[in-house]
């Protein structure tokens, strides 16, 4: 990496970001990458070649792209920048909500490492972006976490919702309307005895969640 830790050019970073996300969704193939980037497959192929040349992505099997360890680190750095920028645009500049994601995407690739860190310091090292997603730490990684079912937490213990287990779109939607979304901070206030509900506090509101439902909410204990 060149001067002051500037990252490779924007188009490449965009492609790396797409490979990283597609890989996390399931698997990244050339066809999917091209579709995601709105590119012809040949153009996508040349981007992948560039990424491979820099050791950020490698091919696995006949048709699967995986970010290398270095690629994952760079991709997470991008996520960090993007989310810090979103915070900055909302909190400091007071930009209207609907422009934040887009503008942050535009600015992410050109932000140098040291400027990103200065920004983090300026913002007071925020934990999440305005949408509630966690901001990866400067050196840290966001790995796939198993998560602890909410009902295993003790009273007084806090945590962050990782995901809602099992495919239950209705429950997910209902909880989402209440604001109990993945990446939301919660604190267990009380665990009902005799297999009773769990009382959690989140953003100033308190909710009682039945054991069965609590067991489906996976959290990252604090």
């Amino acid at each position: 990496m060149a001067d002051g830790g500037r990252l490779p050019e924007a188009a490449l970073l965009e492609s790396l970001d797409a490979v990283y996300r597609l890989d996390r969704e399931g698997s990244a193939t050339l066809a999917r990458l091209a579709k995601r980037l709105h590119l012809e497959e040949d153009d996508a192929k040349s981007r992948v070649r560039d990424l491979e040349a820099r050791g950020l992505v490698r091919a696995e099997g006949p048709d699967r792209l995986v970010p290398t360890a270095e690629g994952e680190r760079v991709a997470l750095g991008l996520v960090r920048r993007h989310r810090l920028l979103e915070r900055f645009l909302t909190d400091t500049l007071g930009l209207p909500w609907h422009r934040v994601h887009e503008e942050a995407s535009r600015l992410t690739p050109v932000l140098a490492d040291d400027i990103a860190e200065a920004l983090a310091k300026h913002l007071g090292a925020p934990a999440t972006c305005p949408h509630g997603h966690p901001i990866p730490s400067a050196d840290g990684t966001l790995s796939h976490e198993e998560g602890t079912p909410l009902h295993r937490l003790r009273a007084g213990q806090g945590g962050t919702i990782l995901r809602i287990d099992r495919e239950e779109p209705e429950l997910l939607k209902y909880l989402a309307a209440l604001g109990l979304l993945p990446e939301t901070r919660i604190e267990v206030e009380e665990v009902g005895p005799f297999g009773g509900p769990i009382l959690v506090r989140s953003a100033g509101s308190r909710y009682a969640l039945g054991r069965k439902i609590a067991a489906r909410i996976l959290v990252r204990p604090a």
């Binding site: 422009r99 887009e102 939607k173 989402a176 309307a177 979304l181 509900p197 308190r206």
Partner: protein, 671 residues
Amino acid sequence: MSLAAGCHPTIDRWRADVTVRLALAGNPNVGKSSLFNWLTGMGVATANYPGKTVEVALATTQFKGQEIGIMDLPGTYALGSTSEDQWVARQALLDARPDAVVAVVDATRLERNLYLPLQLLDMGMPLVIALNLVDEAWRSGVRIDHGRLGRLLGVPVVPTVAVRGQGLDRLMEVALEEARRGGGVSMPRYGRDVEEAVASLADLLVKSGAPLPWELPARAVAILLLEDDEGALGWAASAAGGDEIVAHARAASAEIAGRHDEPAPIRIARERHGLAGDVASRVKSQVRTPSRGQDRFWRWTTAPATGYPLLGLVLVALFAGLFYVGDALSTLLTGGWETYVSPWIRLGVLGVLGEGVTGRSLLWGVDAGVNAALAVGIPYILVFYLMLAVLEDTGYLNAVAFLTDPFMHRLGLHGRAVIPLVAGAGCNVPAIMATRVLATTRERILASTLVCLVPCSARTAVIAGAVSKYVGWEAAVGVYLIVAALGWGAGWGLNRLLPGRSTGLVMEMFPFRAPCLRTMLKRTWHRFAGFVRVAMPVVLAGSLVLGIIYETGLVWAFTAPLAPLVEGWLGLPAVAGLTLIFAVLRKELALQLLITLAVAHYGASAGDITAFMDRGQIFTYALVNTLYIPCIATIAVLAREIGWKRGLAVSGFTIALALLAGGVARRLIAF
């Protein structure tokens, strides 16, 4: 789901009556009903949707010479198809097509409360925000710049304190202004990619030329489609060119999901919460840290060590209040009736119709029938609803639900069901009405059935007057134990038989809030009036029929057909079987009537029931009397709350259970 706007008969009538229509929407417990009660008078109609138990209240009011219709939607966190209350709120809104929607938001919890107004704006509803509970927010050190909030959302915002009526005149003026203005609705703006997906889908909808569901704007339908909304997808599946629309929506959802690592409906919810939080943080300032004293005290209600003893006290108080205050009121009312009204009615009826069968039959209806309602339903309903209103308005009801949930869960119910079950021990009528605190029809059927099996004060009187007196207190306890076991078994069995399963508990726990007397009294009155309207005709007609049967001597004709059941199966004298039929008017009548009929049948020596029934028979008699359908008033209320068919099914079930238990007890239990 019907897609045309305006298709609910009650709502249509209400629409036709008024010139301006307003709807009140808001999260639960934000003071929406206080606002509704303050704005409207006594005349409130309710609208139900088939198969749904959540109601919508409709009323009309005068404001500056204008006739205004106000609709109170159920309290919900969102408008979707994920739960019954959300479905009803949205459907009623779509059917009523209000000229403006007043979204009531809690100023103390602005972040979470702005979600619903944003969704209403997404649906293209002309909106006014009532920023309620500003006094509480002020006390906890929160200041809200309501002017800025209005500018950010592009809708008028009026600060209010609904329990004291503050700001409501201004709110009405602004809402009427908004209603007059119509159109030109402000739209929230989400992230650009979401907005682009919405815009392109909306374009397609406009181009397709298909009439949009519920006359909604294209943007609203596009958002619903991206949210995977059942109703909107159902519409698209049957619309002309719907395949293309669905395909486009699916592709756009996938695009959003890919970009943000989560399904499109969740991303949209996140956008709304994010925008709500962003707006809230721009208008809110915390001038000092709130005191946590009240909060800490309120936590004692849910901490097990203090919560359970407190719950015990509250339930005992509830029961005692119902038992003693209700009973005192009952005595007062029936005493008043018997002393001041009844003699004149008797005089009038008998004077006009003579001492014959017709006159005496009519008296059963207009005298004994009214007296029965005064003795059973009315006093207990008044007392119970006042107590329930305190539990609801303080927010304590949810603490009750939290603590009792594990036990109720085994019966397929939620913790909230403990309130109707305890109330049932006083009087089943208000208890069944109280099953409204439960969210789904399934839970309400289960709870109503169980309530019917809880011995009310009238049945307790029979158990005490017959079993304790003539058989012994151990036997009386035995009756209770058998009834409790059968009730538990019935709940357990019904939970397995009824289709569907108990949904998990997701419930907001509210902070303590001082109850407002005016609101409580008004709510009690509305519920009471509802009871009188539905139950009184049934009680009066039922009494009249029983009167005719009794006075014409037709009653003895039942002896022969009932003999196999009463004498053969239950082993009771035929006369006892007849009283069981008549006790359906008032359960405590059973004993009284038993003695009257016995004297008529056997002669004066039958004044003591041991003269013609042995101890085992008395036990069986009381058990059957306790188990079968509580009384006419209960049947009327069951029918009102869960529908005639289900009400009669529950009644039939209790009769079968009573006969079964009676017959078995007769054979197994010897004294």
